[in-house]
Symmetry: C2
Subunit: 445 residues, 2 copies
Amino acid sequence: MAEPLPNLIEEIVADNGNDDLQSVAESLLPAEHVEIATLLESLPVEERLSLWEALPDDRKIDVLVEMRSDPREVLISATEDDQWSKILTGIDAEDLLELMDSLPAKLMELAFQALDDQQQGYFRDATQFPDEQIGHWISHDVLAMPLNAKVRDGLRRIRRNVPQHCDTIFLINRSGQFSAAVKLTKVFGAPEHLPLVELTEEFIPVIKGSDDSTTASLQVQRSGFAALPVVDDTNKLLGRVDILSASELVNENYERQVMATAGMDEDEDLFAPVAKSARSRALWLGINLLTAFLASWFIGLFEATLQQVVALAVLMPVVASMGGIAGSQTLTLIVRGLALGQVTGANLKALMTKELKVGGVNGVIWALVIGIVAFFWFSDPLLGLVICLAIFMNILAAALAGVLLPVVLDKLKIDPALSGSVILTTVTDIVGFVAFLGLGSLFLL
Amino acid sequence: MAEPLPNLIEEIVADNGNDDLQSVAESLLPAEHVEIATLLESLPVEERLSLWEALPDDRKIDVLVEMRSDPREVLISATEDDQWSKILTGIDAEDLLELMDSLPAKLMELAFQALDDQQQGYFRDATQFPDEQIGHWISHDVLAMPLNAKVRDGLRRIRRNVPQHCDTIFLINRSGQFSAAVKLTKVFGAPEHLPLVELTEEFIPVIKGSDDSTTASLQVQRSGFAALPVVDDTNKLLGRVDILSASELVNENYERQVMATAGMDEDEDLFAPVAKSARSRALWLGINLLTAFLASWFIGLFEATLQQVVALAVLMPVVASMGGIAGSQTLTLIVRGLALGQVTGANLKALMTKELKVGGVNGVIWALVIGIVAFFWFSDPLLGLVICLAIFMNILAAALAGVLLPVVLDKLKIDPALSGSVILTTVTDIVGFVAFLGLGSLFLL
């Protein structure tokens, strides 16, 4: 990009109203699609639309493909109907797969018709796999040759065109099944009459179209190859996944995880329309409200106690906070372990034992610290004892819930990164309040 | 890997004590280093050490390199002194750069001596850059040729050896400055006497050694090249960053972000020794305890009010929870925007306006809902009004803090992913409690 992103954002925001984003659009000509996409996402809606209109039509699809869904849909719905035939020129099956969830039915039909027969076929093949499976995301731009091809044939094929991030020729048999891979660098320099099979790699991982897309992508990243072959259940070669697509899928999965901790999805737009953004966040607030009311209800059981020992009310946030933090540490560690395939039935007991011990140690330490502070603050040794016991119990409960919750959610096919923390804090809030106020009723009345 | 990870973990955990992890180690021979590393990380300490000892010495360094620091250090400290000379055979500068933070001084010296002169030079060069800079992570395995080289020379060089993930020859001038890049696929098939400069790529991004390592890695991922050249301030070619290293750095950065939300670092070991794990988590618990006591102190200011209106104590968690959740949503969105370079001074005001509007809408909705519930629960219209106002104020404050906090932290070079949420919830707790109890004192006494 000619200028760094922040300068461009500033220039456009300052300039808008002066109508000539044309010059900015021209300065963006050498930029990569993804850079323009990032810039568009960074702009408030009015400026975003102005820059979008100033972009040349033949780049618009490539830029849309690189954008997150929410900001992308703002541009799509603002584009006039009669523009689309120009914009859709040159769209291919992979582009359409990226965009399909963002396009209204009418445009989807138009875009599909803009594909040639081969691309329409590719599109149909890909949509047979749901988007959590790698088959949805494969590229068909492969160097595939018959098993009996010679180096001479390979060279001829390579000279015609080598796709990006492609370092091997795939050899397939007569039924189209994947058989072996030959590195391009080995083909050059080999005698022309040599059969390619003599040059095959000893080992190349082969991916199934139905494999989980993140797992398969990580496999591509670390394989050492620029791309891996993808086959169907009968070993027929479907296409390939290159390291760039793999990295994009992995990055997207991480981003999903980060956003999920706040109950949002990775497509959330910085400058979403207020109504849309408020709606998408309201659900999460509502769920959390229910859990907060639940915690309040448990507190309400101890109204009489609270009335007599108001110090309990003052210290409630300490009990809740320590349980929540301790639990979220265990939870985060286990969620990562599950994502990496490192947490299984076989080591779950050992993990639980370790986390309970860690919870025990921190439980004792912080229970004593907090007990002593409470004792001095309110000059009440029994209050110190009560909060000491409650903190210890809550930190242990947090460790237990932090291990078990994500494992159970994972078994139920519920994303523990999204729902784990809200359920966990509900557990620690309730255990904490009930232990604290219950012990308070016993000892302090 | 011969068997999937969970099966291997089960087999080893079940088998241990029967001493023969030798057979498991043999079944792992065809597995990739990173797969063995992941398996070792998944095992409780005793089993981890048994498998480690059963691994062939010549794979140990490569496996260590792929492991996270904490589990890696368990293995390093359990390995006898006399084993190291065998293990360190074949270590190179890149391996040592990965391991340097995990090796005690004595082993570090031994490992450095195991490098040949060239590798020692590479190691010294890399350590001139701190590990947040991409210069620390470059590979020196480049195809570099003088500017006047011909296709013939290029072919000779390529036939000798092409490193993994390398798709270009870098052309350098007499002072070693990077000048241009030629795609390998263009070299093959070109006339032998043609100067390579005639085949150069029109545009290839060039990275500075002092560039931020995550930013530079993202640039490599999306460049379309398998690797990009890295230069110093005088444009001298230092080496290259390939798409595999780039992906590893990007993944590590995401993992850091995910773990930071719970105050942990990405090197945390599933089976860390209890004392170590308890210690590393205690700090975060302690910081949160201080903020919880601060919130308690503010509540304590209203003891008299709480004593008279105990319903306020019962509803406190609702006020705190709604502020915390609303704030963390804004915070998460802004932290991502900062990481992508999308949030800058130029669009900050627009962002703030939008977030305040979203907060306003959700504030009004949830304030009314909660006010009505509180009214019916405690049959007290004034209490309903008090919590209604407090919720609205707290959600607005949350939106404001959610935008400003990460921006300020980022300016102060403090990681907002780590410290943002703890400061934010402190703000929303205090604003929420003071508003709620303060209004309660005004209206309900």
